[in-house]
Every structure is written in structure tokens, then in C-alpha cells.
């Protein structure tokens, strides 16, 4: 099996974060209470998503400069995995919001950014499906992918900092850094992020190889 070490490392890190995340001691805060543990499960999804989308963006640039169709297949495989993580991030976030804010959905810049990101990548999938010629499809969807990724970063990374938000870490609300005085949260959070990114790489690699066989 190719790349066995990273696959095992990814699985172990995820197992560690899933189990130790439930059991480690967390800061006791009003309203948030135990739901602070969602940091390990929800925020790590977004980190994994951005990593997948960034890799997909990089592969799209690689295709446009080299005209190598394998890079295009890598790009779409990574974008699909990123989409999966964004759905997971959305669901875990909605669950958290229901218990903490009392609503499944609020008009918040972070949530709007998520909705836009999903719309952008769904449009990307629609675009790919509407072109038959592989080389043309790769080039045109590559152009869209690059443009879309930049817009997504602007929307989720820059605009929320300029407007008010209820979300932790935005609009004057403290992020987890300020509670995490003894690095206990970080000890679970960073392994979770790394583990999910490794698992995402694995999923994408499988999808990429299926595509290669189909060609």
C-alpha cells in the first residue's frame, strides 16, 4: 500500500482527537459549557476544507501552466473532498449554533461565507459537467477554480473581519486562544486538523486513482 505511514498517522490522529476530545478537561464557560469541545470536531473541518481547496487551486494553476491532464483530475478530486468537509463543517456548526445561539441558522458573516463557498464549488461542478472535451473542460474549469478560490478567501477570510459577527474569534468575540491558557485545547485541536487533512489527502488520492482508471 502506497503512503502507508501517512494514512496510519492520519487515522491515529483522528482517533486520538475524537476520543481524547470527549475526555480532556475543558475551560468552564457560561452558555458555551461543554459545547466548546466542538472546536475539535467543527473547526478542524474548515481547516481541512481550506487545505483541500487550496491544493485544488494549486493543481489548477499547475494544469494551466503545464497542460498535464493528470493535474486536472487531481484538482477536481481535491475539490470534491473539500466539498465533503464543508458539508460536515456546516452540519457540526449548525448543531452547535442550535444549542449555543438557539437557532440553526443566523445572519452571520461566517455562515454567509460558508453558504457562498458551497454555492461557488457547486457551480464549479455544474460547469465541469457541461463540457465534454476533457482538455477544454480542464482549461475552462481551471480558470474558474482559480478565480473562485480567490473570491472565497476574500469572502471567508477578509470580509468577516470588517463586519460584526456573533461567531467566536470574530467581531470582538474572543477565539479559543484566550481560554486556552494551559494549551489543553491545542493539544487536541492541532492533531485533529492534521489528521483530517491527512485523511482528506487519502480520500482525494483514491478518487484521483479512480479517475485515472476511468480515462
Amino acid at each position: 500500500m502506497k503512503g502507508l505511514p501517512y494514512k496510519i498517522a492520519g487515522l491515529l490522529l483522528i482517533l486520538f482527537s475524537l476520543s481524547y476530545g470527549l475526555w480532556t478537561k475543558v475551560p468552564e464557560l457560561p452558555i458555551i459549557e461543554q459545547s466548546i469541545r466542538n472546536l475539535f470536531y467543527h473547526v478542524s473541518m474548515w481547516f481541512a476544507m481550506v487545505a483541500m481547496m487550496a491544493a485544488s487551486f494549486g493543481s489548477a494553476i499547475g494544469f494551466l501552466t503545464s497542460e498535464n491532464l493528470a493535474l486536472d483530475r487531481r484538482s477536481i478530486s481535491l475539490a470534491e473532498t473539500g466539498m465533503f468537509f464543508s458539508v460536515m463543517g456546516l452540519l457540526t456548526g449548525m448543531l452547535w449554533a442550535k444549542f449555543t445561539w438557539g437557532a440553526w441558522w443566523t445572519n452571520d458573516p461566517k455562515l454567509n461565507g460558508t453558504a457562498i463557498t458551497m454555492l461557488i464549488y457547486l457551480a464549479y461542478f455544474v460547469l465541469r459537467n457541461s463540457i465534454d472535451d476533457p482538455r477544454k473542460r480542464a482549461r475552462i474549469s481551471g480558470v474558474y477554480n482559480i478565480f473562485a478560490f480567490v473570491m472565497m478567501i476574500v469572502f471567508i477570510g477578509i470580509l468577516p473581519r470588517m463586519t460584526d459577527s456573533l461567531h467566536p474569534g470574530n467581531g470582538g468575540n474572543p477565539g479559543f486562544n484566550s481560554y486556552d491558557l494551559d494549551n489543553r485545547l491545542r493539544l487536541v485541536f492541532y492533531p485533529a486538523v492534521l489528521g483530517w487533512i491527512l485523511l482528506g489527502t487519502w480520500i482525494s488520492a483514491l478518487r484521483y486513482r479512480i479517475r485515472n482508471l476511468e480515462e
Binding site: L64, N112, I116, L119, I120, A123, V126, L127, S130, I131, K136, R139, I140, G142, V143, Y144, I146, F147, A148, V150, M151, V154, F155, I158, L159, M162, T163
Partner: protein, 218 residues
């Protein structure tokens, strides 16, 4: 640079000569503004609603405009222009033309809204500037996405689907600025947002300029 101006002039003269299109766009703007007036029972909408209605009208006008952005350049004509002018001149000319056009659409809509619903804008200069920068941003996104849609054999709805999510960051930023202008925030205090919007326009404009040639290699 010379080629760009020739192309921009050609696009505009083509638009003026084809007065049917211009007329239908004007009719659309007046018709929709009046429709809102009727549905609203002749009342004056609140500032926020006024602003969002304005952008809805401009948005659909701009989508309609961009969907025929490459209409005259399907296939043979396009290769002819590409060969004599080059892709760089073409994209800049398209951006300028669409930007100017959307600015005219949004200015006209502002005028029509002022007639039907009154003009709630306090800081006119800021509002106009935001409208202009927003139009430029919309033009960049719409020019690129209509180019993309055109390459998939002219699927008009696809253009709208591709453009919609990408337009939202620009429209949101512009509309925040517009609301500030309505409330009467001095231009100096909105400078931060204005510069951000201008930088966003410039950044995506540059990106579109770099990406455009890749769309047309066959």
C-alpha cells in the same frame, strides 16, 4: 493600448447602432422600477429595502447585459478579433465597456428610484463612488464568467449560476458603503471600506486579465 481604445469604441458604437437592445434594457429598468412602485402601493420603502431593491434591479440588468457580452463574437468573428487585437486588448476593452455600461445602468436605476421613491442618499459623492466601484467589480466577475459560459457553447443560465456566488462579496461590500452614504457617514470615515473595495476590484481585475488568455486556447 491603441487596440483597446479601438475595441471599446467599436463595442459602444455597436451598442448604439443596435438601438433595439439599448431600448429593451431601458424599458426593463423603467418597467421593474414601476413594478416595485406598484407592488409597494406607492409608498416609500425603508432605506435598507430601497438599497437592496436598487441592487436587485442593477444585478439582473448586469446579468442580462453580460449574457450577451460575447454574442457578437461567437466562433469565426472571435478568432478574427483575437488575431488582429490579441487577448490582452480584448479583455481590457471588455472590462472597460462592461464596467461603463453597468455604471450607466446603476446610475439610471438610482435616477429612476429617486423619481419614484425619493432619494434618501445623504452623502451623494460617497454613494456615487461606491456605485462606480461596485460596477467595476461586477464587470470583472461578469466578463470572466460570461467568457467561461460562452466557451460551453452559449449556455445563458450557466453564466448566471457561475456569476452569482462570485458577485456576492462585491455586492455586499458595495451595499455596506451605500448604506453608510444613505445614513450620511462622511467620506473620510468610509475611506477604509472604499480602499478595500477598490483593492478588491484591482485584484480580481488583474486576475481576470491573467486568466483570460487561457480561456481561448484551442
Amino acid at each position: 493600448m491603441k487596440n483597446t481604445w479601438v475595441l471599446v469604441r467599436r463595442y459602444f458604437s455597436q451598442e448604439v447602432r443596435n438601438s433595439n437592445v439599448l431600448f429593451s434594457l431601458g424599458l426593463y429598468l423603467v418597467g421593474v422600477a414601476y413594478l416595485i412602485y406598484l407592488l409597494n402601493g406607492g409608498g416609500v420603502p425603508a432605506d435598507k429595502v430601497w438599497n437592496s431593491l436598487l441592487w436587485m434591479v442593477v444585478f439582473f440588468g448586469a446579468i442580462q447585459l453580460s449574457s450577451r457580452s460575447f454574442e457578437y463574437e461567437s466562433n469565426d468573428y472571435f478568432y478574427y478579433y483575437q488575431t488582429i487585437a490579441g487577448p490582452a486588448a480584448t479583455i481590457i476593452a471588455k472590462l472597460l465597456f462592461n464596467g461603463g455600461y453597468i455604471a450607466v445602468i446603476s446610475g439610471t436605476t438610482w435616477g429612476l428610484f429617486s423619481i419614484f421613491f425619493g432619494n434618501p442618499v445623504f452623502n451623494t459623492a460617497l454613494f456615487g463612488l461606491a456605485l462606480l466601484l461596485g460596477s467595476v467589480g461586477c464587470s470583472v466577475v461578469l466578463t470572466l464568467t460570461s467568457g467561461v459560459a460562452q466557451r460551453t457553447q452559449g449556455n445563458a443560465t450557466l453564466g448566471a449560476i457561475l456569476a452569482l456566488p462570485l458577485l456576492l462579496p462585491i455586492l455586499q461590500l458595495t451595499s455596506v458603503l451605500n448604506l453608510q452614504a444613505i445614513v450620511g457617514v462622511p467620506t473620510v470615515e468610509a475611506l477604509n471600506l472604499l480602499v478595500s473595495l477598490a483593492a478588491l476590484d484591482l485584484g480580481i481585475g488583474l486576475l481576470a486579465y491573467l486568466l483570460f488568455p487561457y480561456l481561448w486556447q484551442d
